[in-house]
């Protein structure tokens, strides 16, 4: 019955369908509202974001709440902490802002708790463990920070809303956070050869608030001796129905498949250069990965294991989101220097670029808003 409803919902019946997305331009401090009508993508509105005109504040992560009434944006740079801002999808105007951690990046709202979980990427200076900020989007209150690994990225929630997954790029770990107890549930080291055993660390037991950060001599720490991941995972996406998550190994050029029941790596698929962000079709059949290092997008059939590569319009492919009808992958491409950012629309079935639209510089964060007949 459910399949029939989905079929009816997404069968065109000759009607055109319009897809709406929000896309962030990290080096222009703008967010673009994009409409794709099945043939052509157009920029409906370019929304200025941020607080300081003369500083590039770096809009990075985007998500739309389950009701579709609000969209949320993380601004990476602040004084010094970045911020999370809530906007109305009706007016695209700001409703409220709250401060998070260093370089807040990707985020998602749990359908179970209604809370928003945003990783603090902490791209700044010395590499130290960072955190996941948990925000009540109703009141826009950051209610806690959950300590995780070094440079956490790719915050995605399990389909049942129960777990939040993120990867720590420089410590090479997969983190599973219990969205209800707001504690780290499990940690998995993703590197084949690692020096520092972050997995065995008791991150929950660490009293980060009680640490004397002022007293720490970060400058003289021997960071060369710290473990720098050979995998450098940058994204994790849960499978919509299976107990699996897929991770982009940005440095190891692979997709890592993790069984969340046994909590172990069960497969590693080689990809093109620099897999960065991932999305998966709602039927769980196809995995779409941006290849940042090549300016391409890879579409992988998880059943057959075969991949097709689509060239993006410019270089530095970044974010990807798949339409709910599984027809299209919307891919952001940063470009280099003064090049405009681009949103590419890829027909997943045909593995073909069907439209693209220029937006602000360094297109990155992307969130699907709605599909209208």
């Amino acid at each position: 019955m459910k399949r029939l409803i989905l079929f009816l919902a997404f069968t065109t019946f000759g009607f055109s369908q319009n897809y709406y997305l929000y896309v962030a331009a990290e080096s222009d401090d703008t967010v673009s509202l994009i409409k794709f009508d099945g043939k052509s993508a157009t920029e409906l509105e370019r929304i200025p974001v941020g607080i300081k005109f003369a500083e590039t504040e770096g809009p990075h992560g985007l998500t739309v709440d389950p009701s579709g009434d609000y969209w949320y944006l993380s601004l990476a740079h602040g004084n010094p902490y970045g911020t999370l801002t809530k906007f109305s999808t009706q007016t695209n105007t700001e409703i409220a802002t709250t401060e998070l951690g260093y370089f807040p990046a990707t985020m998602e709202i749990s359908s179970l708790t209604g809370l928003l979980y945003c990783v603090n990427f902490k791209l700044y200076g010395t590499m130290t463990p960072s955190s996941v900020s948990v925000v009540d989007p109703q009141t826009m209150t950051e209610i806690t920070k959950i300590p995780t690994g070094v440079m956490p990225h790719g915050s995605r929630i399990s389909p049942d809303g129960r777990f939040q997954y993120s990867v720590a790029m420089m410590s090479g770990e997969l983190y599973e956070v219990d969205t209800v107890s707001l504690e780290v549930n499990r940690v998995l080291q993703l590197d084949n050869n690692h020096h520092m055993d972050h997995h065995s660390m008791n991150h929950q037991g660490m009293d980060h608030q009680g640490m004397d950060h002022q007293g720490m001599d970060h400058h003289s720490m021997n960071h060369q001796e710290m473990h720098h991941s050979t995998t450098q995972p940058t994204w994790v996406i849960p499978h919509p129905s299976d107990s699996k998550v897929y991770i982009a190994g940005n440095s190891s050029n692979e997709i890592i498949e993790v069984d969340t029941d046994s909590w172990e790596i069960i497969n590693r698929f080689k990809t093109g250069k620099g897999p960065y962000n991932i999305d998966i079709t709602s039927d769980g059949k196809k995995l779409v990965t941006t290849l940042k290092g090549e300016g391409k997008t890879e579409i992988k059939n998880l059943k057959t294991g075969k991949s097709k590569i689509v060239d993006n319009t410019t270089k530095v492919s970044h974010g990807v989101v798949i339409s709910p009808d599984n027809k299209y992958a919307f891919v952001t491409v940063e470009g280099i220097g003064g090049e405009p950012g681009v949103l590419d629309v890829i027909d997943i079935g045909k593995a073909k670029l069907v439209s693209s639209v220029k937006i602000g510089k360094q297109a990155g964060g992307i969130a699907f808003w709605k599909l209208e007949q």
């Binding site: 941020g50 590039t56 010094p80 200076g125 209610i143 510089k361």
Partner: protein, 671 residues
Amino acid sequence: MRTILTLSTLLLSFSLTNLHSQDLFVKSDLQGLKLKIGETFEPETYAENLKGERLACPYTFYYNKQGVFSRAKAISYDRNKGEIQANAPGKHEVVAVCLGLGDQRLSRTFDVEVGYAMVKEITITVPKDNYVSTYLDLSFDVVDEQGFERDGQKLNLTSSSEILSIDNTNNVKAIASGTAKLTAELDGVSATVEIKVSENPLSKIEITSNQEVARTGDVVRYTATGFDSSGNEIKNLPFEYTFYGKSFDVSESAAGTILNDGRFVAEEPGNYSISATLGDITSSKPLRVVARDIKREVYRVGNTVVPDKRTSDFWIFEGVDGRDYAVTGTHSADGTAFFWDVTDPTNMKKIDSIKVDARTVNDVKVSQDGTVAIISREGASNRKNGIFILDVTNPYDVKVLSEYTKNLNGGVHNLFIDNDHAYVLGTGERYYILNIEDPTNPVEVGMFEVGKEGQNIHDVWIEDGIAYSSNWRDGVYLVDVGNGIAGGSPSNPVPFSNYTYASGANHAAFPFKSKSTGTFYVVLCDEIFPEGVNLTEPEITAGFCHFVDFTDLDNPVEVAKFEVPGTGSHNLWVDEDVLYVAMYGGGVRVVDISGELVGDLFRQDREIGYTMTGSPNGFIQNATMSWGAQVYKGYVFYSDMYSGLGVAKVSEDKPDTSNENQYIERTGIPD
């Protein structure tokens, strides 16, 4: 320990309950809860439907609505114990969220009042000498048993004698001589002090000043001397200084600033009267204030428009060939820095450019010998950012010597070069000090950071071996990086002074020793965008420049400000007791900062002149967005985000008024 339901239970309840959250209301025994400091409480929260039926929440959590930063300070929530704990007195909002019922979020905010602990101690501070007919300058400190200070709590004041009069707001006036015991009481704890009130010994006050006629902005020093009825001088009296004035211009109000030590500065030309008072005895002295009359013509000499990109910072330097050059950065563009021959400021020429993988080259600096430039980088496609060191011995053919990114991934916003060392901001947290004696191989030798959680730095300026870093809410830090005042060096930076102020917007700093007074100031300018970013309308800016007297390094004092209404400050330069400050939409302002500085310099009419820096051919036509100014060989160079690089000259002549309506001129020097 409060039970945390298992996933299955939670999901089961979620799926089986066909409830609509709008029919349910969160109830909790948090309602009307009052706690004592340190007390814990395990709240019970549930949902209630319209029939008044009670439904258990599968899982409940709580948080302080003030958020994570104040969580530990006011009310904290221990998720393992399911308890809230009262840590600070006051009324706090606690949000209770009920999960697992209905299809929407269920939550409610409850006010929880945490009572003050009992008062432990009251301290009353009384001036040494108190005279009849004066209000006593008393202060009260109340500390409770938890060590919290209670501010704003009205004390019960009583006096043992009618020689003290206490009004409804606890002002205490001495109305007769004698001795009284003043008691302050709160929560049953009291403190008593004995106050001796003397007859006013004065028969008369003589008031003198160092000027009879002053200009607006001149600080006039008044000295009051008290004499008894025998004509003997009485020393160390607590005079109160006040002023009265009448402007020459009926449309203006006399205004000024008077300090407790008798210094007065007027903002408007007019007749003033400065008074010194003690009790019923007072004496006044007139002061005639005339216009400062320092307006000068500021005219534009040249402009090299960058029409297709926003321009950022710039630097003017003398090349090894003796000619004059400039380098300018670009903002939110394509990573380009431009080089200009500015030997003839009326005919500045673009001579070279360099483009790096970046979107913003925010800052550009050149070594004192004119051989090496460094450009900062933000928005690199590989996110490594950092800096590029350039060979500018031939500015017509600039070459990259090296790229340096260590610890600078998040982007470099500002930097400085001083004596073979580069001071480079590492992503807003700290600055790294690089030895660039071999510019092809920069080596990190030192680092400075404030060392506080949430530290944030915006800019750094070096002069005489002292680094002045602007650290937003942490204000300015003076760090010895070779001056010797604190034994510091580039490899061992030693902080020795700091000043913060309330707005927390310290964006740029510039030190100067007044040529006219010898006073050592640091000027701290804000950067504030009160309404955020707007791409379709002119940017609204705010903030001003704070003048801080650093004569006493342990106790710097903010003495004056320069604020232009309607526009905010950015980068600045000081030369020969003149301030040149870019005020974004307000252009470049030229300000007389000679003499002693007290109060509001703009209102004192100390502005010499200004130039609006927009261009009809600019990135945004005719719009002014001044970035910074630099005085070089008698010219005022500036950059403007929309018009590029420009140069102005401050004339010796007064502004030409031949085309102005005389009736709207400001008041000049009266007869």
